[in-house]
Assembly symmetry: C2
Homo-oligomer: 338 residues x 2
Amino acid sequence: MKIAVDAMGGDFAPKAIVEGVMSAITEFPDTEFQLYGKESEIKKYLTTEKNIKIIHTDEKIESDDEPVRAIRRKKEASMVLAAKAVKEGEADAVFSAGNTGALLAAGLFIVGRIKNVERPGLMTTMPVMGDPEGGFDFIDMGANADNKPEHIAQYAVLASYYAENVRGIKKPRVALLNNGAEATKGSELTKATYELLSQTADINFVGNIEARDLLTGQADVVVTDGFTGNAVLKATEGTAMSLMSVLKKSILGSGLKGKIGALLLKDALRQVKKELDYSSHGGAVLFGLKAPVVKTHGSTGPEAVHHTIRQIHTMHESHVIPDLVAYFEEEKVADNAE
Amino acid sequence: MKIAVDAMGGDFAPKAIVEGVMSAITEFPDTEFQLYGKESEIKKYLTTEKNIKIIHTDEKIESDDEPVRAIRRKKEASMVLAAKAVKEGEADAVFSAGNTGALLAAGLFIVGRIKNVERPGLMTTMPVMGDPEGGFDFIDMGANADNKPEHIAQYAVLASYYAENVRGIKKPRVALLNNGAEATKGSELTKATYELLSQTADINFVGNIEARDLLTGQADVVVTDGFTGNAVLKATEGTAMSLMSVLKKSILGSGLKGKIGALLLKDALRQVKKELDYSSHGGAVLFGLKAPVVKTHGSTGPEAVHHTIRQIHTMHESHVIPDLVAYFEEEKVADNAE
């Protein structure tokens, strides 16, 4: 396969990106990496040129650029060129650690939606606490600010395919994020969505899940609208960060006794951090597009880049996107026949 | 003042409730406590009968009762009688640690809304990490599943009055929970709400806040719709609980070295737990009603009951509710005059 890599996206680009590619290339010798960005900068971090193609450009999208405008005006930006390569069939997938909004826009306007998928959603595999192997696919994390029940039902199908084919989970349990576990609970949106999910034939819908149970492994897929998904994700991250920071401060402030404790506890704290870090599952997929468009954190390092390339590779090998294209095509035919 | 206490609500009722009242009574010798519930049970925990009135009833609302039905059918339940006492002017406020939904229903249908307040919201003072004295008032935490911009603008006024008069914060900074900090960000609901908050004269609106910054003390009041508020609150609680549990497990599982570390670190962990515990600010207020209707966690102990009684007492002393009644009355007069 061929992966179009935005080598200039992210806080530590191109170093972290190119180093990540160099690390992945030995695992995937069948893959061609197209690196979009400043050639002289990229070359500094190459350890091999085999299966590497550099497409030089001086332009790039900054993290504070207004997404849609940036995509339209910076036609030679590394991210834009990478997305165009997919559109024109020169690459099979796009990877970037750059401006999330711009990548969403590039995905929608350049790569394009799967036919009949109304609103692609942003999906990440989140961690399950106490189960380092566990995880659940959470969609929409914020690609859309307003979603209809129909969009969320499509997320359920998209993420089920992903959980089954990319993560290898048989009959993944799909849950709806809601304000109560009972079937009758919810807002107008979640009640209508619950109804629709109950009628969706090709998923294993197990009912509602509350935000407090997200990290406990009760579901393999959790669907929600992009506004709520974004809020819940940020609340989870914020709480974890605040807690770790209070803990650190308390330890440092508590004198010698605390410092000895901290030293001895280092392994335990590292374990917590490891369980919170879900980058081993890869990055966030803008899901519902004609090709994998995948984003990692701007602060990503080479290891996370490598994990994300593995994720993209598995998406390609598992044919999850062609399968979904066929599914949504048939869905529409069935709808029209009714 | 007179406080109607549902002595039978909560997991440890009536013991925890009555002990909390006994603890509070020395701080507030001017206050009459009306204890609704099983007289023989309540009497076991009384250390004084001064300013105590027991109103015996055998009926009570269970934690799994369907709220609205329970309120309508269990007419002699301790919670219902406590709410009725406020309605009939025999008490100034209701306190319960029982079924949240039932207390919301009792508040709405028995105590009643402030005129022109459309949808009372559930409000709690949440903690600010690293600042034990800090806190922000978060409303609506989930009294409503669907809110309109007008409701959220009313929450901003209600909570500003509370922050200023009950918590003593001058010109409290009011922020809107949103999916981005910029003014242009948001869903249809939050964009319209932002517009409305910008035009609300009597509040100090400081713009959007993201869920990841909630616990960092950037605002004194944070307003949101009840669905999002509920999701964010539960995500925060769930993450904190999961994290503490992973940490505990890691410590116990890491052998002697870890156990010694845990012992030494006890103070630091206790500090974190203390910072997360926001019960010192009192309970959750169903705000927008004609009287204070206040709820604490079902698992509440005597100390949290005492704190909540202090909160109710301050609400009464500060005249925050009569002031709000006058405010919303005038608002409507002004609206009609336009």
